[in-house]
């Protein structure tokens, strides 16, 4: 097991993503952050906190559970559902930034786009991830990346966050082949 992203680097990545989101959208008024549970949701609320400090304004931040829209439901045991919380201004006409911890096959994001389409029609949809590990199976890319991490498909990336795991770090493990 190796440490791919220690706590200080993770904090810096979150701050940098927050700056980039504000810069790209020239301000924070139109932005709605939606984190994908579990870790994406925590990540989104950290980015929101950081954006609040930088911009000095309230940031719309919520969660979007995509379990019911997954295309691989039949391949796994039933998953527990997580809450969806759409912030008060909704998604209609907003610049929605989806937030997830790891971008891998792209299927989670495809499901998130479907789920989002059921709720409303955002003006734009952008994607922020802490780690992009490659191996996409769909034509999807991230707009904001904390760290690009070249991996082999068998390796396992684990994102730990203080809210859940007591520590902030990203580790890379060799999977069983």
């Amino acid at each position: 097991m190796s440490l791919a992203l220690p706590a200080p680097d993770m904090a810096r990545a979150i701050t940098r993503i927050s700056h980039e989101i504000l810069e790209r959208n020239s301000g924070s008024e139109s932005i709605t952050l939606l984190g994908i549970p579990t870790r994406g949701a925590h990540l989104a609320s950290r980015i929101a906190t950081s954006m609040r400090e930088i911009a000095g304004q309230e940031i719309q931040c919520g969660t979007l559970d995509i379990t019911l829209h997954r295309d691989d439901l039949r391949l796994r045991p039933p998953r527990a559902l997580m809450p969806t919380n759409i912030p008060p201004l909704g998604v209609e006409g907003r610049d929605v930034v989806l937030v997830d911890d790891v971008l891998f096959s792209g299927r989670t994001i495809r499901a998130a786009l479907d789920a989002l389409g059921e709720i409303g029609r955002p003006r734009t949809v952008q994607l922020a991830v802490l780690v992009d590990r490659g191996h996409r199976q769909l034509p999807i890319r991230a707009d904001y990346v904390g760290k690009n991490l070249p991996t082999s498909p068998s390796q396992v990336i684990k994102v730990h966050m203080t809210e859940l795991d007591g520590v902030d770090e990203v580790t890379l493990e060799e999977g069983e082949m």
Binding site: D65, L68, H69, L73, R74, L75, R76, P77, P78, R79, A80, L81, M82, P83, T84, I86, G90, D114, A115, E118, I119, G120
Partner: protein, 315 residues
Amino acid sequence: MRHLLSIADLSKIEALSILNTAETLSRVSDGPMKKLPTLRGRTIVNLFAEDSTRTRISFEAAAKRLSADVINFSAKGSSVSKGESLKDTAQTLQAMGADAVIIRHSASGAAQTLADNQWMSGSVINAGDGTHEHPSQALLDAFTIRKHLGHDGDDLTGIRVAIIGDILHSRVARSNVLLLTMLGAHVTLVAPPTLLPVGVESWPVTISYDFDQVIESVDAVMMLRIQLERMSEMFFPNAREYSRYFGLNKDRLAKMKANAIVLHPGPMNRGLEITADSADSARSVILEQVTNGVSVRMAILYLLLAGSQELEFSL
């Protein structure tokens, strides 16, 4: 978990996971996403060999909100009324490619029979079999009680529930006794001795013949329907006497604890087991039970059908 045949088959973790999933799904149905693609391409058959309004419609609504295809099949107007056996019916449904069968039948154990024999490969969901069990009703009752009196994600420890009426013929009562006590609630059965089943002493409940004494101390009152179609023998002298001793009326309603609620699985006999003003009072959560029924049945269908059946669900 492949079938839902009786509460007796469920573990506490499975029961709670159904309730928690229903909780999330109910928020989804309240929100902007009314229809979900989760069960697209799955076929669900409603096989109702006995009359039903809300259970059948509730399962149908739940299946449709998850985008499953629903085929309704009622005994009246089908080959069952020509004497077709359950086996032949099941094999026909299998040949049509049903992924799940929701069965309501007047014979106790009909759902179990369907699941045990290899007549069909899909999931079997018991929607009421004779006087045996009605698991989805008990789950929606527990869900409603928890929503009003308990905490999200918790069981029902410390909550006192009274079930009043025809326990003898009631599959709703049997399923509820099993589920509510498993979740930690204390259940009191109130009925005339003629409407209690043989062996009720061995159930994990308190038994009382005095409704007035019980009503002051419970958090939830569940009124059962007097099943007029099963009242061929003289279980009580007449309807007026039954109402006087075991019916819910304005006077009894006034004695209830401040937050206590009134449940009824429906259909109600207004004026017999429950007066109209009690059924429509602020304590009554009877219509909410119907709403919650759809969420609970969505949760059941999701947990039974969405995932791969070879793998077990865990919390």
